[in-house]
């Protein structure tokens, strides 16, 4: 039998070792963050945010097309995913034991794990081909599909947590079922639903793969959802793999903006779900 003191010492040493190891694993994240901010912050200025790209080899220009593009794509995705997601989440919370619910949940799990490139292929087949051209709409739909599982899950979870009494009290007062759900239950779960929407937005803001064959890219500003559109992650990808230093610099700037945006959303999400 090993001496007691030895075992205690071993336990303490291991705990220190493991803690250091865990701290070590935060290093990559910090490195990434440091690099991005260091390289990106010097590029960001008024011109960068408000002008369009210049031809290859000419200095100056900006990424306005990408900023506007990402914004529009997110809006389209939200329009698709929020109503669809909330209603499905409500269905699952309310009628969770039916066969339809079981199959729906299965699909939610599948969608949550599907590689984003596969979503891109599907939307290409369903929207781009029939439409005959690339469009912001198809890009937004692809992003919406990716956001759907997050919204559905968080809606279902928060609604399940709401005490049944609230719903039953409303029904007892004579409020019709549909009004109870829409005006009592959903607002009660608002913070959870919002968490899901914000988390979903953070996820899709940085997605590139599904946009490769749907949104396609556009060096000009575009507000028409039936036409191709630029997006921040697309721009970062194209500029990153190019050999031009001005483009790399712009990609760092865009990465910086994107990462700050996404991380802020993530942090807000966590803070809300704490409450």
């Amino acid at each position: 039998m090993k001496s007691y003191h030895f075992r205690i010492l071993k336990s303490k040493i291991i705990s220190v070792f493991l803690t250091l190891f865990a701290i070590l694993s935060t290093v990559p994240f910090l490195l990434v963050l440091y690099f991005i901010i260091k390289n990106g912050i010097s590029v960001i200025n008024w011109e960068f945010l408000t002008s369009l790209p210049k031809p290859v080899g000419e200095p100056g220009g900006g990424i306005l097309n990408a900023i506007v593009g990402t914004t529009i794509l997110i809006i389209i995705a939200l329009i698709l995913a929020v109503p669809f997601g909330i209603f499905t989440g409500v269905f699952l919370a309310e009628k969770g034991d039916s066969k339809i619910a079981f199959l729906s949940r299965l699909v939610v799990e599948i969608l949550q794990g599907v590689p984003s490139i596969v979503v891109g292929i599907i939307v290409y087949l369903w929207i781009v081909k029939p439409m005959g051209h690339f469009s912001a709409l198809s890009g937004g739909v692809a992003l919406g599909i990716m956001m759907l599982p997050v919204v559905i899950k968080s809606t279902e979870e928060i609604l399940k947590l709401i005490p049944r009494e609230i719903k039953e009290a409303s029904l007892a007062l004579g409020v019709p079922y549909y009004k109870t759900i829409l005006k009592v239950v959903i607002p009660a779960g608002f913070s959870g639903i919002l968490t899901g929407i914000l988390a979903g937005t953070a996820r899709i803001a940085g997605e590139t793969a599904p946009l490769l064959f749907t949104a396609f890219g556009n060096p000009f500003l575009n507000f028409n959802i039936l036409k191709p559109i630029s997006a921040m992650p697309l721009l970062i990808f194209n500029y990153a793999v190019s050999p031009y230093e001005e483009w790399w610099a712009k990609a760092w700037g865009a990465s910086c903006i994107l990462v700050v945006f996404v991380l802020t959303l993530n942090i807000i999400t966590r803070l809300i779900s704490k409450r």
Partner: protein
Amino acid sequence: MRIFRFFLLAFLILNLLNLNSFSQDKELLGAGATFPYVLYSKMFDVYYKQTGIKVNYQSIGSGGGIRQLKEKTVDFGASDAFLSDEQLKEFSSPVLHIPICLGAVVITYNLPGNPELKLTPDVIADIFLGKIKKWNDARITQLNPDVKLPNMNITVIHRSDGSGTTFVFVDYLSKVSKEWETKVGRGTSVAWPVGLGAKGNEGVTGLVKQIPGSIGYVELIYAKQNKLPIALVKNKKGKFIKPELSSITSAGNVKIPDDTRISITDTDSEDGYPISSFTWILVYKEQNYKNRSFERAKQLVKLLWWMIHDGQNYTEPLDYAKLPSVAVKKAEAIIKSITYNGKPVYTEVGIK
């Protein structure tokens, strides 16, 4: 509920903005070759400033340009590889090739001191076949007695996407190396025996720039803009030629068929650079497909006419060779043959 009303509002606003810009026909969409991308991005920027017409060109590789034209998702495709007869058959209606300029595929590499190397066709082919593996291989050193070649492995970089630049290069290799022709062959995407893949001319340039001992093939301007060394290649007449405007133009000084589909690699021209090529814009001859408007067809014809005339002013500053006048004449004839509902379009846009 308020969320839904918010989204409805956002949706309506988006659509209102769309109604404003019903300038659907003031924008043209093109995709394809990365080879001329540097030139096109300049040309389209200038064209926009002069005419207000936006041309959205995505350089996704010649393979992509051909494919998207086939799918009819773009107004024009761009490719350095002209379509073969079999490929033309796969299109639902005839496709026209309009040459825009000439470029050169150059061999670039990453060696200490950036020496200017002389290479022969068989050496190039064997490097890309993986048969010559080291920089100080006897066959390379004997061509370059004044250069101290290191004992480094050769890292081949090729394209990972469907590329006209690749097509031009492997077309050349197939002409000068029987082994290449049988083992690998021609195409916009081939099964490379060795090497890493990178996306676009941009990607290959990027990798060559970063990997010591690497070798790759890119369009001239990419090597120049990135200050990478360029090899002199021995042409059919036995001369070592430096790829530059004069030698590229010289390579293009040959008899061109009416449809301009010709490969000028391994040129017979005395001072021609042997890996030169035309680059084309591909459009459908009959422009009324898939509900395309007449206005759109007109804009396309105007753009093409501009590109082979005024647009040519932007070629040489970027190290692309202008179209020889014989090619311009053929191109004019081809543009004039573009029809809408069977009727020529060019008469409607002020071209005589």
